[in-house]
């Protein structure tokens, strides 16, 4: 919590720039909804917000945390250490107290938690959360509602905008039943009116943010992907449930019918990708997706989609692997799978979203690229972005929205599904071809009409056709943007959700006068053409990613970049603890690797 002196601060009020609040409880306690309310409130107050959630793989119960960082000014990561720890149970306290910063505040449920008396590193604030909630709501509710009680406590402590919060309650619960809304308000009031002053000697209030002018929207990464797909004109799709991809298919299932579309829950991953390809072959750009193991099952069909040159959007919400691995932790270990996984040489496009806002724009861009290049496009996100809530400027939907069109206009007699001299534009079934020679779409190597051909020259030519269109995409990419030093000592390179922690690190170091820049790669296949020249400008290139250093000491992107650029300055900072990077880890990594 960085504090800033105010001209005439009220005696008991501390003005703060931002605060990291970690809520630790069990998965059924609804701590995610406290986080959700705080995030939405922050969005409506033009404050920046970032959340970080872990959920256990067990069905119900089991420890769970939700961390919210709210602040004035750009919030880039969920924060290394918490300023505030809310502990609902003894295990919450035991497991998370080490994450509370020196001088931070422990807010604990005194019905369940006994902190170590002698520990004076932090301020202890005990409130009988469970029993006061039961008292406020009546006996039948048990402890349900203590999340909202706690939200009341936090609202008081942080001087949050209660009127706005009540509005958010109304929207969230109002449509369900009056009872639920009333109980939420009762629990909130009980928390808000608790005499917290007796145990905590100050309040906090956030510095007023600069209004960006744009209305803010607040959502998690998976929701942003869905909205990107909808805006990009995807109306059909198929999937199979797997964490953390499932929430995307759930939302598509409820959203698509409004747009006249269909999302099918398939019998398995093989069927899901095949159905999506079937939709696309029928002239309706479709989406499928999954997480690690499920993507493996789709790879044969994706090879077909590359060969048959079918536009398709494939989402991979990566999690810790291999196999069932760490299903509720984060990893970026499917990069090479996304680029190369399948069989044979099957060029396709791989994009990586770097934060929640970018999940929206990346999904939207994937739709455009898939159509324009008639190619499967992977969108890589991960567990940490899937459920993380951030606020961002509302996109300009009038400009971005794409109306999907089924193109069954007659084709002329010279129509070919696989012309060697241009990018494939399929004529979906229902299209009349003048002269009456209908196209075949196939996974066998084929000639320009789609009929099988094992002619060696044809295979070489078709292989080049499929490769060259992906290279053409590389030629069309905008110049890469570098934050900080445009040349010099260190360039930190990342991809995907490491954007926030890397940027925060580089901002800190660069403003302290270090010669350091940040390049984040959104187009991982094809890579931007300009990376070679950019790398030439730095002594050290440190590639930060959440995957294993592999047999040769380099993470997956580092391996690719070494292969592409042959730049000896490339170093790899890779880790697989299933947790997002902390600023101090990146700082230390840079220090160690550039000595």
């Amino acid at each position: 919590m960085s504090t800033e002196a105010s001209a005439t601060p009220p005696r008991s009020e501390e003005r703060i720039q931002d605060a990291v609040i970690r809520l630790a409880g069990n998965s059924q306690d609804g701590i995610q909804s406290i986080g959700g309310f705080l995030a939405r409130l922050a969005g409506r107050s033009a404050q920046e917000v970032m959340t970080y959630m872990t959920i256990p793989a067990t069905i119900s119960g089991g420890p769970s945390i939700f961390q919210v960082r709210m602040g004035t000014g750009e919030v880039l990561s969920a924060g290394d250490e918490a300023d505030f720890l809310v502990a609902f149970y003894q295990h919450s306290y035991d497991n998370h107290i080490a994450h509370l910063r020196e001088g931070g505040v422990l807010l604990y449920d005194s019905d369940h938690v006994e902190p170590v008396e002698s520990d004076t590193h932090y301020l202890k604030v005990g409130v009988p959360i469970a029993s006061l909630t039961v008292e406020a709501l009546g006996g039948s509710t048990r402890e349900k509602g203590k999340n909202i009680f706690t939200l009341g406590l936090l609202s008081r402590i942080f001087q949050l905008d209660v009127v706005k919060l009540r509005g958010i309650f109304e929207e969230r619960f109002g449509s369900k039943s009056e009872d639920i809304l009333r109980n939420a308000n009762l629990a909130f009031d009980a928390g808000y009116s608790y005499p917290i002053d007796n145990v905590l000697d100050r309040y906090y209030s956030f510095l007023a943010p600069e209004e960006s002018g744009e209305p803010q929207v607040t959502m998690d990464g998976n929701t942003a992907i869905v909205l990107g797909l909808l805006t990009g004109g995807v109306r059909y799709g198929a999937g199979y449930p797997i964490t953390p991809w499932s929430t995307i298919m759930e939302m598509l299932r409820s959203q698509l019918p409004k747009y006249g579309g269909i999302f099918v829950q398939a019998e398995d991953e093989l069927a899901a990708v095949s159905m999506a390809i079937g939709f696309s072959y029928g002239g309706r750009l479709a989406v499928t997706g999954s997480s690690g193991p499920g993507i493996s099952l789709k790879l044969e069909a994706l090879g077909w989609a590359s060969m048959a040159e079918i536009p398709l959007v494939v989402i991979n919400i990566q999690r810790g692997g291999p196999s069932t691995g760490l299903p509720t932790n984060v990893e970026q270990s499917d990069l090479l799978q996304a680029i190369y996984g399948s069989h044979g040489d099957c060029p396709r496009v791989v994009l990586a979203a770097q934060n929640v806002e970018d999940c929206f724009y990346t999904a939207l861009e994937a739709c455009k690229i898939a159509r324009e290049y008639s190619v499967p496009v992977f969108v890589l996100s991960d567990m940490s972005m899937a459920s993380r809530i951030e606020a961002f400027d509302e996109p300009d939907l009038d400009a971005l929205q794409i109306e999907p069109k089924l193109d069954t206009e007659d084709r002329s007699e010279d129509f070919k599904p696989y012309p060697l001299d241009k990018i494939t534009r399929h004529a979906p079934p229902g299209t009349w071809i003048e002269g009456g020679k209908f196209p075949q779409v196939t996974g066998l190597e084929h000639d320009e009409t789609g009929h099988p051909s094992a002619n060696p020259q044809m295979h070489v030519a078709m292989m080049a056709k499929r490769r060259d269109k992906v290279k053409a995409l590389a030629d069309s990419l905008p110049p890469s943007e570098i934050y900080g030093a445009q040349e010099g000592d260190v360039l930190v390179v990342g991809w995907g959700s490491t954007w926030g922690p890397i940027r925060e690190t580089v901002v800190r170091e660069h403003s302290a006068g270090k010669s350091i820049g940040h390049l984040h790669i959104r187009y991982v296949n094809p890579l931007p053409n300009d990376v070679d020249a950019i790398f030439e400008r730095y002594t050290h290139i440190v590639v930060v990613e959440m995957n294993d250093e592999g047999l040769y000491g380099y993470g997956q992107l580092a391996t690719l970049l070494r292969a592409k650029t042959c730049n000896p300055g490339i170093k790899s900072l890779a880790k697989t603890d299933g947790l997002t990077f902390k600023i101090r880890e990146i700082l230390k990594g840079i220090q160690d690797l550039t000595q």
Binding site: E267, A286, E300, P429, Q440
Partner: protein
């Protein structure tokens, strides 16, 4: 594979025998699949759908080469997944006539699970399984329908696993039209195709189609001129809507009966999805896509 000379130009509106044929089939001379293709052509000539609205799809196998030989929009997909592929085509494009062709390996082995679910979902399409009791494209391995004792390269002393009972499998999949025919009986084949195509739902026809190369004589017991019996189901006696009766037919001794085992009217997924869409559109007052996405963003503020 050598492509045949380009077919004569055809006019929109009429399906002719010449205009519906594409490449010359790659099948071995004498293969039962030629007759299946010929019967399909004749059926299409009779039905006269707009040619551009017919789509012929397949997975992998000898019989799955089918789409190349038919001059319609065609898709040659991967092994075992022709049904989910066709499911996407059918659900996304309810205006098309969707046909899937494949063999016993594609349908009952690698793709077996998809049969159960295409049946359960009652996808509007017609699926012809050209069953030859052997893997032919890979040159004589045991198939899921190979009888016990069949000597193949993977069972040199004779197959030991019990074969799939195709009719029982199809009936239990929930397919709403299940027929059985024989590639030597062109008229019967055509009547099965016609009835399958007329059926509104997931219609499957198993067609015994001999592999002359690797399982010669497999279906002689169903060929009268070879001393067999082609015993057609008497629909005066057999109620095609009676699942128990259909299952009883499926248990009959080889070569069993031919004809429609089961047919029932059940809402298709195609129709049920349109209902969901209709209700959703009604609820939103038929709002434009742009209004819908804006409303969703508004709820995120």
């Amino acid at each position: 594979m050598s492509a045949s000379p380009a077919p004569a130009k055809i006019e929109r509106g009429t399906i002719t025998k010449k205009g519906i044929a594409a490449d010359h089939p790659t099948w071995c001379p004498g293969c039962g699949d030629f007759a299946v293709l010929a019967a399909f052509f004749k059926t299409l000539e009779k039905l006269q759908f707009p040619q551009e609205n017919i789509v012929t799809l397949a997975g992998i196998g000898c019989s799955s080469r089918f789409p190349y030989f038919v001059n319609t929009h065609g898709g040659h997909f991967i092994h075992g997944r022709a049904l989910p592929f066709a499911t996407g085509v059918s659900l996304g494009r309810d205006d098309l006539h969707v046909f899937v062709f494949g063999g016993d390996g594609d349908g009952f082995s690698i793709g077996g699970n998809h049969l159960d679910h295409a049946g359960r979902k009652n996808i509007r399409l017609t699926y012809v399984i050209m069953d030859n009791f052997v893997y032919g494209l890979t040159k004589k391995q045991t198939s899921p329908t190979s009888p016990q004792g069949f000597r193949s390269k993977t069972d040199p002393t004779g197959a030991i696993d019990r074969p799939t009972n195709p009719m029982r499998k199809l009936l239990s999949s929930g397919a709403t039209f299940v027929g059985r025919t024989h590639a030597t009986q062109i008229k019967h084949m055509m009547s099965m195709y016609e009835r399958a195509i007329a059926h509104d739902g997931f219609s499957v026809v198993e067609c015994l189609s001999e592999c002359v190369e690797f399982y010669k004589g497999a279906f002689d017991a169903g060929i009268p001129r070879k001393g067999g019996t082609f015993d057609i189901i008497d629909e005066e006696e057999h109620d095609v809507t009676d699942m128990a009766a259909a299952l009883a037919l499926a248990e009959e001794d080889w070569p069993g009966k031919f004809g429609v085992y089961y047919q029932n009217e059940v809402p298709t997924k195609n129709a049920l999805e349109q209902d969901i869409i209709g209700k959703a559109r009604e609820k939103t007052g038929g709002a434009s896509d742009l209004d819908l996405i804006k409303a969703t963003f508004a709820s995120m503020k």
